[in-house]
């Protein structure tokens, strides 16, 4: 209901949805002033096997909107309505998902999130979707892994169209803590460099890292808070409860680049993010000490490394 009402805030800028076929894998994403990230983002997910991109531009003024509109596999909607009042863009995406993704596999990510799953170097998303479907699994869990450079964050100068993980290729290997949300049955994960550097003295406020981005969509489904959890609640059971490991992946998060500093000042002032941009305000106050790298940081190689460390699992997929 809410999503339908919020759907009216969207105007189609480039509608190529007639190209979508029943077996296509769809990607949903909201962005604002991300022109610098969009080219590599699209390239990465095309290679992974996304067939169509359904994007919502929330008032960009950097030309990113016209760039994506020219892409042959993109449908673009625009809105200038406030991000904060649309549950951080989820209302708009829920509307589009209900309309276009019913019965199909949908990937919902941000422009700085890069999906990694077991065998992603040899098996396309379609293989994962087919396998999940054969296993009667409807949703696929991930953890967001914050990536950062060695040295000052502001020195990692990102160039449009390049792989951000050439610069930000370090991560925290083993400091994530989990809690069970008894109401929604999802796990609530915190930790990583954001808890270690920015939220050590107020750990309760450290950002949630659990995400469920890949779902065989049904028009009755809806994301509750970003992609952290879903309704109906059964979709949140992406973890083994008796000791076994379910198959899972990671969202590499390319947040800590030189783009981070200016962004923080902007978003802290705009206060449209979760908790009135509380998170961004913390970053703003901590910015001077923005060397995140530490002696025990791990350099990123590939998914097999993450699986060996225990940050994701092949589970039953071999």
């Amino acid at each position: 209901m809410r999503a339908r009402r919020k759907g009216r805030e969207l105007t189609a800028a480039q509608d190529r949805t007639s190209q979508i076929t029943d077996t296509d894998i769809l990607l949903f994403c909201t962005f604002r002033n991300e022109d610098i990230r969009l080219p590599y983002f699209l390239e990465y997910y095309r290679k992974l096997g996304v067939n169509h991109f359904l994007l919502v531009d929330n008032g960009s003024d950097d030309g990113g909107d016209s760039y994506v509109a020219e892409q042959p596999d993109v449908s673009l909607w625009k809105t200038n309505a406030p991000y904060g009042k649309s549950r951080f863009g989820m209302d708009w995406l829920t509307y589009l998902q209900g309309k276009y993704a019913h019965g199909q596999w949908a990937l919902t990510v941000d422009v700085d999130e890069f999906f990694v799953y077991p065998f992603c170097d040899t098996r396309p998303l379609r293989a994962l979707a087919d396998w999940l479907e054969a296993s009667e699994v409807r949703s696929f869990g991930t953890m967001m892994l914050d990536m950062y450079p060695k040295g000052q964050v502001s020195d990692a100068i990102y160039q449009r169209g390049t792989d951000p993980f050439k610069l930000a290729n370090w991560f925290d290997p083993g400091n994530y803590t989990l809690k069970l949300n008894n109401f929604y049955h999802n796990l609530w994960i915190q930790g990583g460099p954001r808890a270690r550097v920015f939220f050590a003295e107020k750990p309760r406020q450290a950002p949630a890292l659990n995400k469920i981005p890949f779902v065989k969509w049904d028009r009755n489904f809806t994301y509750v808070s970003s992609t952290h959890m879903l309704l109906p609640r059964g979709l949140n059971l992406v973890y083994g409860q008796n000791g076994g490991e379910k198959t899972s992946g990671v969202l590499l998060h390319a947040k800590f680049l030189n783009t981070f500093g200016p962004r923080v000042s902007q978003e802290a002032a705009r206060a449209q993010h979760y908790g009135d941009g509380r998170e961004y305000k913390t970053y703003a106050s901590e910015q001077d000490s923005s060397e995140i790298w530490c002696q025990w940081s791990e350099q990123y190689l590939n998914w097999r490394q993450l699986e060996a460390i225990g940050l994701m699992s092949k589970g039953n997929w071999a």
Partner: protein, 566 residues
């Protein structure tokens, strides 16, 4: 000798067509069965697509639903038709549209020629193998299963329960011993004819129509009645996961498939282009000649184990076992020493020298986590920040133990350390907890302050320690716990320390040469008495007499059993 193929097809017709061509090119007549649920247009396209092949025929169509009789009926008809129409065929191979020949058909034929009169069919009695998923093994043969498991699960389950409740026990036809095994076989004309023309076939068919998953038991059972020589294995490489669903092969499996030496594999992901392009592939001269599935078995066996047991001690977004029920919370054994560093000022260093273990200070100290090297960040990028640690103390410790599972970990503990970790220390089967109770009195005594000044603090420490001891004495506490009072410990410190070190070393270590230097306890009994006089009874220390610490020093000498020593 001539080989014929029965192929069951229900989806991915383009791939199936490709497979038919492989078999046909290898000189095998193919009898194809197409599920009757497939729409006419697709069927017609499929038939037309293969119309250029002479020895490819289509059999009577049945509705094939997983676990139901249709699959067997389809196989019977197709096999019968194949034997009738191609009189020269004397071996029949059952395959599906997603079975990919890995080696040239000629190699399969040579292999079969080497084993005349042999039927290749996996066939085991239900009593001997616990293969089945869902607990229905023997009962597959003694209950009735008229409802589809896939479509009408509830009805299926309820009918099973109902039959179990009223004690239904179907009679197995005389002369048959139920066997089960892989659906994919290769039988000789003689055996197959005998099965299809069995005088009691109608009776058997009627029986198997109500057996669950008859395609895994019909031929497997009847072959035991008719065959002369059975090799109980399938020539088709097919692995099953913990739900009983076949594993799927992808491009990255090309190497292990090639090395398996198997003739046929299933299931292949329809878009695994590399596999379809590179197989069938002739074996190289030094390659395998007979199927050997060791590597494949290992890989898929591991997958099952990962999905059912997982990696103990790992907590992540797809593994979150209920620790209250789990047998062991952490990844590896570790030791906790309570009170030792109060008695022995350099205990940490001493212990590190005695063992290879990593010895931390008070990991759960109030101000910050005292990692072994006193760094601010430790392995796994764990922060020493106390607030962050205490936000999820158990997570902190399981993380530390998971990351450092390659090395034995020890840490000190004290009455004022984070209490929320007590439960885990008491309940984790990997925890080895050593307690000297009442040792908190030593630093107070050594501080030089009077009993009157330290009374309140002593009472507080004793209360905290008592809480810890209570947690350790809980009936469900499965850690290895050894608690002694300060007085008991001083009675014979050497023996306790020896066991403590042995336990870390994992075997009897060498006898301790030197003991850690003990704090000077002269005057401690008097101090404790003074506490009592102030109304604060230090009951956790035990009864400390004036000579005790002097005796302790004597007892610390290595005992000598050598006559004439000294």
């Amino acid at each position: 000798m001539s080989l014929g193929v029965v192929m069951l097809v229900h989806s991915d017709f383009a791939r199936a067509g490709q497979m038919v061509r492989h078999w046909a090119a290898g000189g095998c007549p193919v009898m194809i069965h197409v599920d009757s649920d497939v729409d006419t247009a697709t069927f017609d396209w499929f038939v037309a697509n293969l119309s250029d092949l002479d020895d490819v025929r289509f059999s009577t169509r049945h509705r094939c639903e997983w676990g139901m009789w249709g699959l067997v009926a389809a196989t019977q008809d197709a096999a019968g038709q194949l034997l009738r129409e191609f009189a020269h065929v004397d071996r029949v191979f059952l395959a599906s549209g997603s079975c990919l020949p890995l080696r040239p058909i000629s190699e399969l034929r040579d292999f079969l020629d080497g084993c005349p009169q042999t039927d290749f069919i996996e066939s085991a009695t239900t009593a001997d193998v616990p293969w089945t998923v869902g607990g229905l093994d023997r009962e597959r043969f003694t209950l009735r299963f008229p409802f589809s498991w896939k479509r009408r699960r509830r009805l299926f389950d309820n009918y099973v329960k109902f039959q179990q409740a009223i004690g239904v026990k179907r009679k197995i036809p005389k002369g048959l011993v139920p066997h089960m095994g892989s659906q994919w076989w290769c039988l000789t004309r003689k055996t197959l004819t005998a099965i299809l023309n069995d005088p009691k076939r109608r009776k058997y068919d009627r029986y198997f129509k109500r057996v669950w998953i008859p395609d895994e038991s019909y031929f497997q059972t009847l072959v035991r009645k008719h065959a002369t020589r059975i090799q109980s294995r399938s020539l088709t490489l097919s692995k099953f996961d913990f739900q009983g669903k076949p594993h799927i092969f992808y491009d990255d499996h090309a190497e292990i498939l090639r090395r398996s030496g198997c003739f046929v594999a299933r299931k292949i992901w329809p878009n695994a282009q590399v596999l379809f392009d590179s197989f069938p592939q002739a074996t190289t001269p030094n390659g395998p000649t007979r199927p050997s599935t060791g590597t494949v078995d290992r890989i898929f066996g591991k997958a099952v184990e990962r999905r059912t047991r997982g990696r103990p001690g790992l907590y992540m977004h797809s593994r979150y076992p209920n620790v209250k029920k789990a047998n062991g919370i952490s990844a590896a054994p570790f030791s906790v020493m309570h009170g030792f560093d109060a008695l022995f000022p350099h205990f940490e260093n001493w212990l590190a020298q005695q063992t290879d273990a990593q010895v931390h200070g008070h990991l759960f100290a109030k101000d910050k986590a005292q990692f072994a090297d006193r760094s601010t960040v430790f392995r796994g990028a764990l922060s020493d920040c106390a607030r962050l640690r205490d936000y999820n103390a158990q997570g902190f410790l399981t993380n530390l133990l998971w990351t450092t599972r390659d090395r034995y970990q020890c840490f000190m503990f004290g009455p004022t350390d984070t209490p929320s970790i007590h439960w885990m220390l008491a309940h984790d089967t990997n925890a080895r907890v050593w307690v000297i109770s009442g040792a908190w009195s030593i630093p107070l005594f050594l501080s030089g302050r009077t009993a009157a000044e330290t009374r309140a603090e002593a009472a507080h420490l004793q209360r905290c320690e008592n809480k810890f001891l209570k947690a350790l004495n809980a009936p469900q506490a499965h850690a290895r716990i050894r608690i002694s009072t300060l007085a008991d410990f001083l009675d014979n410190p050497r023996d306790t320390l020896q066991v403590l070190v042995d336990q870390i070393a994992g075997h009897k270590a060498r006898a301790l040469s030197d003991l850690p230097e003990m704090a000077d306890l002269g005057g401690l009994p008097a101090y404790l008495q003074e506490l009592k006089n102030q109304g604060m009874h230090p009951f956790l220390t035990g009864d400390l007499s004036a000579e005790m610490h002097r005796n302790a020093a004597v007892n610390s000498e290595p005992r000598s059993y050598v006559v004439g020593h000294k």
